[in-house]
């Protein structure tokens, strides 16, 4: 088994033991979060992308994405992806990662955080996932990477479509506990593209779980005296769902692989990560619609596990730039390169 396979298996075991989506639905409060987080951080998964000398697990990029794929499959409701991403951003600038949950800002392409001459920050980041639950926030402020304590920022209330914290964070006058220059050729677009890859990989994982749930349900549910899986209309709908899952898996896997092997966030990585975000968001939308249709009324209930996947991936569409944002950006790039350069870009890998 590959290195990524072992890491993914560890992650899957922890999620199954401490974060089973069905058990979480029946839980009366958020008490399940603490043991899940403890198990994840003790196994080093939360700081997978932080080198060992900076306090992390020093896993490679592919391992981190493997963890996120599994996290998507278990609809994990703790800031694991956000902490991974924050650790990754800090390590770009050689900063050590603190213990505990983190998130990253900005989380939208058009929000800007800047560094004041007196060493404090200025600016506002909207839609920051899990900011309310995070101890620290890793911030890209112009060409610097900063670590701030969440408690020193003004953080609005707010929930995503999936009922998880999604907050506006105001950094005006906040003094970072650590700051260092970002590496050369690393800018906000690079951070957003990494965020795109993260959300795409999670979305593909969620879609895999959704396909499994829906196939199982279609084989179990009897209507008109046979399992609904025997109806051609149902079979074809599920074949289309499989296609959407395949598209999300491929686009996200390809982007993750491209980032793991690229020297910088060049045009090739831009195509990969932007495409992954666009296509996985489309797949989330199509896939959620088909899965809900196949489940009928039961899938629309609070007690059924389906919405833990569908709402999560639908809310991820907005993080780190929506599919519309990236489609415009990608379209403009292609147009600027000109028609002769279009195919060579597509065929680059």
């Amino acid at each position: 088994m590959s290195e990524s396979g072992i890491v993914a298996e560890t992650a899957a075991r922890i999620f199954a033991d401490f974060g089973d989506p069905q058990a979480i639905i029946h839980a009366k409060d958020g008490a399940w979060k603490q043991p899940l987080w403890k198990a994840l951080s003790e196994s080093g998964l939360t700081l997978a992308w932080v080198p060992e000398q900076q306090g992390g697990a020093g896993a490679d990029i592919a391992d981190g994405f493997a963890i996120l794929s599994v996290a998507g499959r278990y609809a994990v409701g703790v800031p694991l992806a956000e902490t991974l991403l924050a650790g990754w951003l800090l390590s770009r600038a050689g900063l050590a990662a603190p213990a505990g949950a983190m998130t990253v800002a900005p989380a939208r392409p058009n929000d800007r955080i800047t560094l004041n001459p007196d060493g404090t920050l200025r600016g506002r980041a909207r839609g920051v996932p899990f900011a309310k639950d995070a101890g620290h926030i890793a911030v890209l402020a112009g060409s610097s990477v900063a670590l701030v304590e969440a408690a020193t920022c003004r953080i609005s209330d707010g929930l995503s479509l999936a009922g998880e914290p999604s907050n506006t964070v105001t950094f005006d006058g906040v003094r970072p506990t650590q700051i260092a220059p970002a590496p050369e050729r690393f800018d906000q677009t690079a951070l957003m593209l990494m965020g795109c890859a993260v959300r795409s990989v999670e979305t593909a994982g969620a879609l895999e779980a959704i396909l499994d749930l829906t196939v199982r349900y279609a084989n179990e549910r009897v209507a008109f005296e046979r399992p609904i899986a025997k109806f051609q209309a149902v079979q074809h709908a599920l074949a289309r769902l499989a296609g959407e899952v395949a598209a999300a898996l491929t686009a996200s896997g390809s982007a993750a692989d491209a980032i793991a092997h690229a020297e910088s966030f060049d045009d090739g990585v831009f195509l990969e990560a932007a495409s992954a975000k666009i296509r996985s968001a489309e797949a989330a939308q199509e896939g959620a619609a088909i899965a809900h249709q196949m489940h009928g009324a039961i899938g629309f209930t609070n007690e059924h596990v389906l919405h833990r996947y569908t709402l999560r991936m639908l809310s991820w569409r907005d993080d780190f730039g929506s599919e519309s944002h990236w489609a415009v950006a990608l379209g403009n790039r292609i147009a600027a390169r000109g028609s002769d350069e279009f195919w060579p870009l597509i065929a680059a890998r």
């Binding site: 074809h236 074949a239 296609g243 899952v245 990236w326 379209g331 028609s339």
Partner: protein
């Protein structure tokens, strides 16, 4: 995981990029010499014996096959690169493409050695054209309803019946035909069909043209009247063709030709929009690019799995289903995105020409090589629903 879909990210190895540059240079020379015009896919019938021979001389036909049969023993990924570069250039590869993609591999697996030694090197040299004789007037998607009969006689079989919608039959040297050698059994309705290598010069074969709605000639009706097939032209097991059909499907269905046949409208759109498109066009173009990129990565992934010796039948069917449905909508999407480009702009006229042709082509994409409905049935079986 019940479904277990697998699309590993494949990075094309270094030798593929070198090869790609060679192919592009070759195509550029051919275009410069006037062999074909990449922007005019509707010219001619994509059939050029001289061009196919020159490609054969480069070693780019049957390139994955053993050297003893004229091949180059190169990888499926290298073949992938050659296929996609010729496809996006609209190069006239009709003569050799079917043989290269599927007929050759069938012969390799099921033909007697002396037939392989005779036919395969000629395919590699770009000298012979193949047709596929499957559909009949009352047997299309349901291949096992085929009625054209092969009756045993001294030293071979006599064929009687009619194949239809047979692409290339009017220019083909050979056909791989599916004929009935026995009746189906109660237990197995797929039993009783046999694959044959048909020499199209055999007396008793008549080819009648069936023109398409584009005005082009591709389809034919092929009538067999006591056409004699020698015993050594039987491919594989008598009555057992149903066992042989499925493994070809991944090759046939997952290639880049399944979503790049009308790629020119996308290049045409980029050209017509110019360097600073409006917001609506930029978004539309970006989405199409992301969708195409994803399809291509899926297709490359299947090529990688084939190279690794796997049989990704479900994944291949998904690529064809999604690829053809996407491409079928492509001309309509491009038309919408080009709607506000001024009439006078020079590039618009070219795009309109291309769009008209792509719009006429579009309906066939989800029919040829396995309809959407058949593919979704295969995918559903793979998911454990049937």
């Amino acid at each position: 995981m019940t479904a277990n879909l697998s699309f590993d990210p494949i990075r094309l190895p270094e030798e593929c990029e070198t090869l790609r540059q060679e192919v592009r240079a070759f195509i550029a020379d051919e275009v410069a010499a006037g062999t074909f015009d990449p922007d005019r896919p509707h010219d001619g019938d994509q059939h050029s014996p001289e061009f196919s021979r020159r490609i054969g001389q480069k070693g780019w036909i049957g390139m994955t096959w053993p050297k003893k049969y004229g091949g180059q023993e190169r990888s499926f990924l290298e073949r992938y690169v050659v296929t996609e570069e010729f496809r996006v250039a609209n190069a006239p590869v009709r003569l050799h493409f079917v043989a290269d993609r599927q007929s050759g591999p069938v012969l390799m697996k099921y033909a007697p050695e002396h037939v392989k030694v005779d036919v395969l090197p000629r395919i590699c040299r770009g000298e012979v054209c193949f047709a596929i004789g499957m559909s009949e007037p009352n047997s299309g998607s349901d291949l096992f309803a085929a009625k054209t009969k092969a009756t045993k006689t001294d030293g071979g079989f006599l064929i009687n019946g009619t194949k239809i919608w047979t692409s290339n039959a009017h220019i083909a040297d050979y056909m791989i035909g599916l004929f009935r050698t026995s009746q189906p059994t109660k237990e197995n309705r797929r039993h009783g069909l046999t694959q044959f290598l048909v020499d199209m010069r055999t007396p008793g074969i008549t080819v009648n043209p069936v023109y398409q709605m584009t005005g082009q000639h591709d389809f034919n009706e092929v009538v067999f009247q006591d056409a004699f097939m020698p015993d050594d032209h039987v491919l594989g097991e008598i009555d057992g063709a149903w066992k042989q059909a499925t493994s070809e499907l991944a090759y046939e269905r997952s290639g880049p030709e399944r979503f790049l046949e009308t790629f020119y409208v996308l290049t045409g759109l980029v050209r017509a929009l110019g360097p600073t498109p409006d917001l609506r066009s930029a978004e539309g173009l970006g989405r199409l690019a992301a969708q195409l990129h994803t399809l291509r990565r899926m297709s490359v992934s299947v090529a990688g799995m084939l190279q690794a010796g796997k049989e990704p039948v479900v994944e291949g069917s998904i690529v064809k289903d999604m690829g053809t449905v996407w491409e079928q909508k492509l001309p309509a999407r491009v038309r919408e995105l080009a709607a506000f480009i001024e009439e006078e702009e020079g590039n618009r006229a070219t795009l309109e020409d291309q769009l008209a042709f792509a719009t006429m082509i579009a309906p066939k994409l989800t029919i040829q090589g396995g309809t959407t409905e058949v593919l979704r049935g295969i995918i559903a079986r793979g998911l454990g629903l049937r």
